[in-house]
Symmetry: C2
Subunit: 211 residues, 2 copies
């Protein structure tokens, strides 16, 4: 019997994970190179299921209202109680932009308008690519937000009021820094990983807004 | 028994697919909302395997030598015999840049140096995100390239010599157009889908360099 229920990385650590991340029992899986492939994969000896460990796409947005940014306090592990951007796994069949808008609605009940790509980040340790947009509220004069099921609360924060000691994930800090660097100006080339962590493998980053 | 051997989209059509794309037998799968999830997934009634249809990341590069671009003629279906950029599925544990460099080596035996992100394309119909870089040969004075196992041949093409009638996928055309628009200049914001196909759902595109 194939036990690959939720075949995501169980070592997801400090990065955003959701219900689909479950520790999987790899008993019965062996390392094999499938026909036509060129590298070893985990293959279930019982049923032949190939557990391709595809990187996953996380989409999110720095949603700006005036000079403030929308953050959500996480209601779920990991990093429950810490602040994050509205972001989550992209779903099959949607575009990146649609995914970012969906996440803002799900996590912060916020209707947003996408501006453009603010950052593209690698988190190689857990096989993630994060595409973070700059966005505004769809109705700028009515920047409604409220906690969705995965959030304890939501808030609009001025830069100096961002709870830097309580930020959930390094990539949140990277995206906020990219927003600060660009302000209201042209987005230009997307921000990438900071020089100190070019592959996104560090679990612990210094507290504070510096990358 | 779980038949989800290769749980990718069998309807991959004109987009790059590799050995991991196999038609899967969904007999025995039912649509269920797993615990803690908020949408229906295909769940194997026999073993509980959840067939998450995560979007996949394709990484590739427009590899430039002087005013010419590196193309590969595909040795595998789909679109065998048609020309494409060196590109393929990102692997778990690598960065986007590492993936693009790996694909250039695998498909064109080319050692490349990444410049930056040229385009980020949605192909929602088949659940793909494509991140295409602009790159150069690692040794610009020695732009070595040769057909890898998945290529029939490789070539450096001046713009006017690009075999537009024999381009494998719409995204190849989009990326080449983005390269033309930027030339050797600053990359700026990544190119996205053309206005005529904002979600990447069209199978057939007009022949020719126009988006």
């Amino acid at each position: 019997m194939c036990e690959a229920v939720g075949h995501d990385n169980p070592d997801a650590g400090l990065e955003p994970i959701g219900p689909r991340d479950q520790v999987i029992d790899m008993t019965g899986f062996t390392r094999q190179i499938p026909d036509g492939d060129n590298r070893e994969r985990d293959v279930c000896a019982a049923c032949g299921h190939i557990d391709y460990q595809n990187p996953k796409v996380v989409v999110g947005a720095v949603v700006v209202s005036g000079t403030a940014v929308l953050l959500c306090r996480r209601a779920i592990e990991p990093r429950k109680g810490y602040w994050t951007l509205p972001a989550g796994y992209m779903e099959h069949g949607e575009t990146l932009e649609e995914g970012a808008a969906r996440e803002a609605m799900e996590e912060a009940e916020a209707a947003i308008a996408i501006d453009g790509i603010l950052g593209v980040f690698n988190v190689a340790r857990i096989g993630q690519v994060q595409v973070i947009f700059r966005a505004r509220f769809a109705e700028p004069d009515r920047p409604f937000h409220a906690a969705g099921p995965e959030s304890l609360e939501t808030g609009l924060f001025e830069w100096d009021d961002i709870p830097w000691d309580e930020i959930a994930f390094p990539t949140v800090r990277w995206a906020l820094n990219a927003w600060r660097d660009r302000g209201e100006g042209a987005l230009g080339h997307p921000a990438g990983n900071p020089a100190a962590d070019p592959r996104g493998v560090h679990r612990i980053t210094p507290v504070g807004p510096a990358a």
